[in-house]
Point group: C2
Chain length 210, copies 2
């Protein structure tokens, strides 16, 4: 996520309320402000206005840098772009890489984590949730297209996303039942299996007889 | 769901506000009242008190018949018990039967459908959602145990449930993207594949090289 030392330093989650002149530092201040506002308000209720105020910049500057609330969310929240990054590599290990990145990312997330907040608040503000999921889907699909071919890549990626939404619901939002109770490495193992089936399973035949 | 003609008639969703004497008719009146209250209020906000009032019976009688709000929900809402019924049969065709039952059930559901209302409101009242999902899970697992054996049946059934929750979210709640856009029979075909992978996939090995 972080490309150099100065940026790593600037993205410390301390909201900068004073005016910041350096463009890179200003961008980092916007990202830090966005993380704290998304965590406090949830995705649906967060506004670019409040993020701009907290970063000490104008509304217009935020829009210039990130174009929309969805894009700002994707840039600010660790994990959404990480998942897309984990796609890169051979098709063979794809399910395992995504399963591993998802579990590693979610296990260290706290309950105020914006991604969990999104799944929670998708129920409340459907239009906001729809816009965000659409942005995440587009980003995912273009990442997967670098590894996968076929007429139904977008559909399989959407099914994979739905699977992870359902697992997030059980393990990290409701936090109840066998999915919530299993150790993280076992979850990774099961997700590798299920995601592999979603990405590479045949839709023409059901399981051959056993 | 409906075992005889008199019950079919009695379960018409017209709330009976007058006192009903016949035990079978009274049970049917409670179910009809429950369906309308769950549809209007959502699962979390529905109360046994209001359901009893609308059915023209006492709170105690509802509890005597159904023991809890979760059990009443499972009995009243078409689809939750249908899914468990569809499990019966050979292991070979299991994924296909469940996929078919899920799609058939959800395609005819309207937006006030209590099952969709549950997935929506799980975000709001977590304790209520947890209790209901626990009841559904128990019912599902005992149905699947008649067909499947193995140490991880409960876990695989939970993963299958999570998958259907995620698909419900995309297609029937947010109603956006490739999963929402595909024809019902194609969805059945893809779900047969994904559910088969969840139920019978191997966790020991990832896909052999291709």
């Amino acid at each position: 996520m972080v490309s150099d030392a100065s940026q790593a330093n600037a993205t410390e989650p301390t909201p900068a309320r004073k005016r910041v002149r350096d463009p890179e530092a200003r961008r980092a201040a916007i990202l830090a402000a966005a993380r704290s506002v998304f965590a406090e308000r949830g995705y649906a209720k967060a506004t670019i206005r409040e993020i701009a105020q907290r970063a000490g910049v104008t509304h217009g500057l935020v829009v210039m840098h990130f174009s929309s609330k969805e894009q700002l969310f994707l840039a600010a929240v660790p994990g959404t772009r990480d998942l897309a990054d984990s796609v890169q590599g051979d098709a063979e290990g794809l399910a395992g890489r995504v399963a591993h990145a998802y579990v590693a990312r979610m296990e260290s997330a706290d309950s105020a984590d914006p991604f969990i907040a999104l799944v929670r608040s998708a129920a409340g503000d459907q239009e906001a949730a729809k816009a965000l999921l659409r942005a995440m889907r587009e980003e995912s699909v273009s990442a997967y297209r670098t590894v996968l071919t076929g007429p139904d890549v977008a559909l399989r990626v959407d099914l994979l996303g739905a699977h992870l939404i359902g697992v997030t619901f059980s393990r990290y939002v409701l936090a109840d039942g066998p999915i919530a109770a299993m150790p993280a490495d076992e979850l990774t193992r099961y997700l590798t299996m299920t995601l592999d089936g979603i990405l590479f399973g045949s839709t023409g035949t059901v399981r051959s007889s056993s």
